[in-house]
């Protein structure tokens, strides 16, 4: 699967602040791209944006790509971007296995931990749904 997703953040007013957290998970042979547009208009004095883009890879045949787009028209703006890529490696899986967890249980737990920062912002009912959906879509994704 190829997913090309992204966000737009447009600063128009003075002293506006924004924060973007993007978490992508790629399994199997999928490729995930994140494009994040941050626009700061001329009128947006002292705008501040922080973008964080994390990617998690399951296995070694998938990939993740991050493309930040910054359009800054006001010199007082402060725009920060941070990106990380991590992989559920063999050492991590072995550690979980050694505590009695199967590969599937381990991946489920690691992925949920990875998404926690986003999930905990969601309303309860939705967070429960999201978690279930994640478990289903991960079934059989690690060989």
């Amino acid at each position: 699967m190829i997913a090309d997703t992204g966000t737009k953040m447009i600063h128009i007013g003075k002293n506006t602040r924004s924060r973007i957290v993007s978490k992508g998970i790629s399994g199997g042979k999928s490729q995930n791209s994140y494009r994040g547009l941050v626009q700061v208009h001329k009128t947006a004095e002292n705008a501040y944006n922080f973008s964080q883009c994390d990617s998690l890879l399951l296995g070694d045949k998938c990939g993740a790509h991050t493309f930040p787009y910054l359009e800054i028209k006001n010199k007082s703006a402060q725009v920060e971007h941070e990106a990380t890529t991590s992989k559920i490696g063999e050492d991590l899986l072995f550690y979980c296995n050694q505590r009695g967890l199967t590969n599937e249980e381990a991946v489920d737990m690691i992925v949920n931990g990875y998404c926690k920062e986003v999930f905990k912002q969601l309303p309860m009912e939705f967070a429960v749904e999201a978690q279930k959906l994640l478990s289903i879509s991960l079934e059989g994704s690690v060989g």
């Binding site: 550690y95 050694q98 505590r99």
Partner: protein, 250 residues
């Protein structure tokens, strides 16, 4: 409990274990010492089931079962525990959640219902005090930002939670200051009983002052070349490994 017979193992083309035999009974503490690169950690990894190694000959029996046929997670649920030399970090997963999953995986394997929350919390509280681990660590992401000593204490805490039959400590003493060493050793001593066994891998005699072994094995070039009681460890410390090399004639 554990019986290793003439074990040969290699990684890639390199033969690391060259006919290792070892027998561990319930209620015993065995220490394995030896110079770097003689295969001590390899042995620990193979018992736990790490897949990087190819077993070319020999067998490992655990309570009469062929251990090499079981997956690493099955071995763990059967009661094999490895305290890692370098424990990994799992971002976003608290020690509490991790332990809950592990404890329940083991219970399920033995046909038990998942543990009741109240009981689990009481168990955690009891066991964390064993290694003097502050309550706040349990809600933090596992091993993330922990110091070396805290990671090792966390390993012993997990061992206490899972109550294994066979516990392997892979250089648990490396990187520990004397206080942390004593805490870890105390934890092990309190967990020791006549139904379980410990395999302690170490470079230094120091740890064995606190965890007193019934047997000390010296490993050299992929084999156990000498076995004795705790006085052997003292002799090693005094004379170094060259003495063993002379004794076995290499």
């Amino acid at each position: 409990m554990l019986e290793i017979k003439n074990l040969h193992a290699k990684i890639g083309d390199k033969e690391i274990l060259k006919g290792l035999s070892l027998k561990v009974n319930a209620g015993e503490v065995h220490a394995i010492m030896g110079p770097n690169g003689t295969g001590k950690s390899t042995l620990a990894s193979i018992i736990a089931g790490k897949e990087d190694y190819v077993i070319t000959a020999g067998e490992i029996l655990f309570e009469g079962k062929n251990l090499l046929e079981l997956s690493p997670d099955e071995r763990a649920r059967e009661g094999v525990f490895l305290a890692f030399q370098y424990p990994v970090e799992i971002p976003g997963v608290s020690t509490t959640n991790f332990m809950k999953a592990a404890v329940n995986a083991k219970r399920k394997h033995h046909g038990l219902e998942p543990i009741v929350a109240k009981e689990f919390l009481a168990l955690m509280n009891e066991k964390r005090q064993l290694v003097d681990l502050d309550k706040s660590y349990l809600s933090r992401s596992i091993n993330e930002g922990f110091s070396g000593g805290e990671k090792k204490r966390n390993e012993i805490f997990q061992m206490a939670m899972l109550d294994p039959k066979l516990a392997i400590l892979d250089e648990t003493d490396s990187g520990l200051d004397i206080d942390a060493l004593r805490i870890v050793a105390d934890g092990v001593n309190k967990l020791k009983n006549k139904h379980n066994a410990f395999l302690v891998i170490t470079h230094y005699q120091r740890l064995l002052n606190y965890i007193v072994p019934d047997y000390v094995h010296i490993m050299y070039d992929g084999r156990i070349v000498k076995t004795g009681d705790k006085s052997l460890a003292l002799k090693m410390e005094e004379r170094g490994y060259d003495w063993i090399k002379e004794e076995i004639g290499v």
